[in-house]
């Protein structure tokens, strides 16, 4: 009802008006929607910068140990399932495409279409997690999960250099990094689902101030693309380590 009253009215941006509607599309601290939208986008990018640095430390750790123990990484990574990794990369790239379509249709105010593409994105996210779950499950079964039950054996065909460098502890280090990095990434996928699903429902339901404008969708999409970008690097770094 507050929305009814304010719609169409010409505001002067006096303090009194500003204080009045928490629930209008423009929050009281902003002068207009333009300023608000840009603030949200810049804020989102600043947040993504922190995300990059967050993963960054892990990438450094990865690089240091791969440099130190190249043969360990080669031998241990053979235990990862390339087809599943490839499928997951395909799924995430596709989901990025879907979510950008959702933003596109939200911009055009085609809400049904926007929501549909969001749901498809969420579907992809679930697909990704299910496959990841299978991979993790398999690692549990064969004892490749770091911890007291960790085991690792070199194939008899391994080179003598490899036999010298690869120890159980160092193999565990590889899998530790694998689980830390893909696990953190997986948590981000999960959070993505928790963001995108309600968003899709809100868009379907229609007039809710959060989705009156496409900016929240764009922000969620930015986050989702970032998750995708991380995986774009994780995939070759873990699954496709060159054997030579």
């Amino acid at each position: 009802m507050a929305i009814e009253a304010t719609q169409g009215a010409v505001h002067e941006h006096t303090a009194a008006v500003a204080a009045q509607d928490e629930h209008g599309p423009v929050h009281h601290q902003f002068e207009d929607i333009e300023q608000q939208n840009e603030s949200y986008i810049v804020g989102m990018w600043a947040f993504l910068v922190t995300e990059i640095m967050f993963f960054g430390a892990l990438f450094l750790a990865y690089a240091v140990y791969r440099w130190k123990y190249p043969l360990v990484f080669i031998e241990a990574h053979k235990m990862l399932d390339i087809p599943l990794g490839l499928t997951n990369t395909f799924i995430l790239l596709t989901s990025s495409f879907f979510v950008v379509l959702a933003v596109h249709y939200h911009k055009l105010n085609r809400r049904k279409l926007a929501a549909t593409w969001l749901f498809l994105t969420v579907l992809c996210a679930f697909g990704f997690l299910v496959i990841k779950g299978f991979e993790y499950g398999h690692k549990f079964k064969v004892g490749h999960v770091p911890g007291p039950n960790f085991t690792f054996e070199l194939p008899a065909s391994a080179s003598p250099e490899a036999k010298e460098q690869v120890t159980v502890e160092r193999a565990q280090l590889f899998f530790g990094l694998y689980f830390a990095m893909t696990g953190l990434h997986g948590i981000h996928v999960l959070v993505g689902i928790l963001i995108l699903t309600p968003l899709a429902f809100m868009i379907l339901k229609g007039h809710h101030h959060v989705v009156d404008d496409y900016i929240p969708t764009e922000m969620a999409a930015l986050y989702w693309h970032f998750v995708d970008v991380v995986w774009i690097f994780l995939f070759p770094l873990f699954y496709l380590i060159p054997l030579h």
């Binding site: 204080a19 902003f30 160092r170 565990q172 280090l173």
Partner: protein, 564 residues
């Protein structure tokens, strides 16, 4: 909300009723705990931060008391370790890092740029809750037995061997980290997007510039330490061995990652202080800050260069000597922008109309102490001298000169400077001056002897020194100084609280300062300004200040009747 009805009526100013402002806008506890008003959140931060400061201070008192005798007087080895860890963790993660940004930045950035609030008020509230939750974890860890790793959590001791509450403490620091990230993002967006019409980048007060630089450091550095500490927890719980050499890990990698954040973090602590000092020096010298642009850019330079010197904490940690040389040279470089600031501040005072009100005394203390702290940093940055000085009291003295003599002086200066604006009351100036002077004296008495101790080879973090009993005199001097210092910090608690009830009412601009925050009522209304200000003057242009303008005009030409 009924405000839409009220909106059409002229705001009736009944003379008997006190003026509405942000403090008396609502009185319930909920109106504080769920507020999104940046000013109220700043006040909540102020209160909680002061409490943590007290906790850290009590730990410091134990440490100083213990050290009065070469064999200690009351703490076991274990408890001594826990005491200095508690002191470091609380002071750094829960006091210094949030202190100036979350209190004064929060309160005055929006006001200084002419905005109604920060860009994301709810995120701001969230940051306070995160801070409190993080603090709760740290306090819980303390109650459940404490931590003994030092605030640096060096591996593999922290990740494999320590028998204390490492996980809880790290969770506390981790969560508090997100609180400061939230603040950083909020400031960045606010400074970019919420400036009032006419408030260009080079009209911003230097306080705002320094907070912009600080926020950059926060968002670029904090995530790295967050994930690193998380890895320590993972290693502790799962025994993965990322940092444990026994399991193939590299403990020096932890130090790389830790100091990648924690050296820049020392600038998170000092840059806001430098911003405060810019305001104080200018206001109380009644002069524009000398070399405004240089001071602004030196903040940015410090933020950038600060990321390139972390290895100076690792000269003897097994880091490559060649890398050490590079870090050593870069560390000398980072001192340049700091020096630019000190020179410019000094030049600002020169030939200014200096008035030595208590905030200015704090500012002057800052200049001297920060200079000593920075210069001794150079002794530590040159590898040959550092081999002798590292892990001695010299290092302790170095960073306390900057963090206590610098950052806390700035904090106290800011508190006194902005107190009239925040509360609408004046404090007794004489007491203010006394506390400021006591602080300067107490501080030097506490920490100057520590330079000598360090030079004589007394290692830090040990509570026995019976092999060198002749060091006792310096420790006793230091403890005596700490007592004076404690008094100097306690005094303001009394007279500031007293002023809340009995202090004379403050005018809107008691210092004749030029910032926008001084062009609205004290205390300000919830929306900060009656209407969005339009800025037509440069930063620190004292002839533009309404009260002072009249004076200036009276001298220049016969006054013209202007309304408002």
């Amino acid at each position: 909300m009924s405000s839409s009805v009220l909106e059409n009526q002229p705001v009736a100013e009944e003379p008997q009723r006190p003026r509405k402002h942000y403090l008396n806008a609502a009185h319930t506890v909920g109106s504080w705990l769920f507020t999104t008003d940046h000013k109220r959140i700043a006040i909540m931060y102020l209160i909680s931060i002061v409490i943590f400061f007290a906790v850290g201070g009590i730990a410091a008192a134990f440490i100083r008391a213990e050290l009065t005798s070469p064999r200690g007087i009351m703490l076991s080895n274990d408890n001594y370790n826990k005491m200095f860890t508690l002191h470091g963790v609380v002071m750094i993660f829960f006091f210094l890092i949030p202190s100036i940004p979350a209190v004064f930045g929060n309160f005055f950035i929006p006001m200084a740029i002419g905005a109604r609030d920060l860009a994301f008020p709810r995120l701001n509230l969230l940051s306070w809750y995160l801070y409190m939750i993080g603090g709760l974890f740290a306090v819980l860890a303390m109650i459940l037995g404490g931590v003994d790793t030092g605030w640096t959590f060096y591996t593999p001791y922290s990740s494999m061997y320590s028998q204390s509450q490492v996980v809880l403490t790290i969770m506390g620091a981790f969560i508090a980290g997100f609180s400061s990230i939230a603040t950083g993002i909020n400031f960045i967006v606010t400074i970019h997007k919420m400036r009032a019409p006419g408030m260009t980048w080079f009209r911003l007060p230097l306080f705002v510039w320094s907070h912009y630089a600080t926020s950059l450091v926060i968002i670029l550095g904090t995530p790295v330490v967050a994930i690193t500490l998380l890895l320590v927890v993972v290693e502790r719980v799962l025994h993965i061995g990322i940092f444990d050499p026994k399991l193939g890990g590299d403990p020096v990698l932890f130090q790389h990652l830790f100091w990648f954040y924690s050296h820049p973090a020392v600038y998170i602590m000092i840059l806001p202080g430098l911003g405060v000092i810019s305001e104080l020096i200018s206001t109380f010298s009644r002069k524009r800050v000398f070399g405004y642009h240089f001071v602004a850019f030196s903040s940015m330079a410090i933020a950038g260069l600060g990321f390139l010197v972390w290895g100076h904490h690792m000269f003897i940690a097994g880091q490559s000597m060649y890398q050490g040389m590079v870090f050593s040279i870069l560390s000398f470089l980072v001192a340049v922008p700091s020096a630019i600031k000190v020179f410019n501040f000094t030049a600002t005072i020169y030939k200014g109309h200096v008035s030595l009100d208590s905030p200015m005394i704090y500012a002057m203390s800052f200049l001297g102490l920060f200079t000593i702290g920075g210069l001794t940093g150079l002794y530590l940055s040159s590898m040959a001298t550092d081999v002798h000085l590292t892990d001695t009291y010299f290092v302790t003295a170095h960073f306390h000169y900057i963090m206590v003599g610098g950052a806390i002086s700035a904090f106290m200066g800011a508190l006194h400077y902005w107190w009239p604006k925040m509360t609408g009351r004046m404090y007794p100036e004489l007491w203010g001056k006394l506390a400021a002077l006591l602080m300067f004296l107490g501080f030097n008495l506490t920490f100057f002897p520590q330079f000598i101790l360090g030079f004589l080879g007394n290692p830090r973090r040990y509570h026995y020194y019976y092999l060198q009993p002749e060091l006792q005199i310096y420790h006793i001097l230091s403890t005596a100084g700490a007592t004076v210092l404690a008094l100097a910090y306690l005094l303001p608690v009394f007279y500031l609280v007293w002023s809340l009830f009995f202090g004379p009412k403050a005018s809107s601009n008691p210092w004749g300062a030029s910032g926008l925050e001084w062009r609205t009522a004290s205390p300000p209304i919830t929306q900060n300004f009656e209407e969005t200000p339009i800025v037509t003057w440069e930063a620190y242009d004292y002839s533009s200040v309404p009260d002072l303008k009249e004076e200036a005009e009276k001298q220049a030409q016969p006054p013209t009747p202007v309304g408002g």
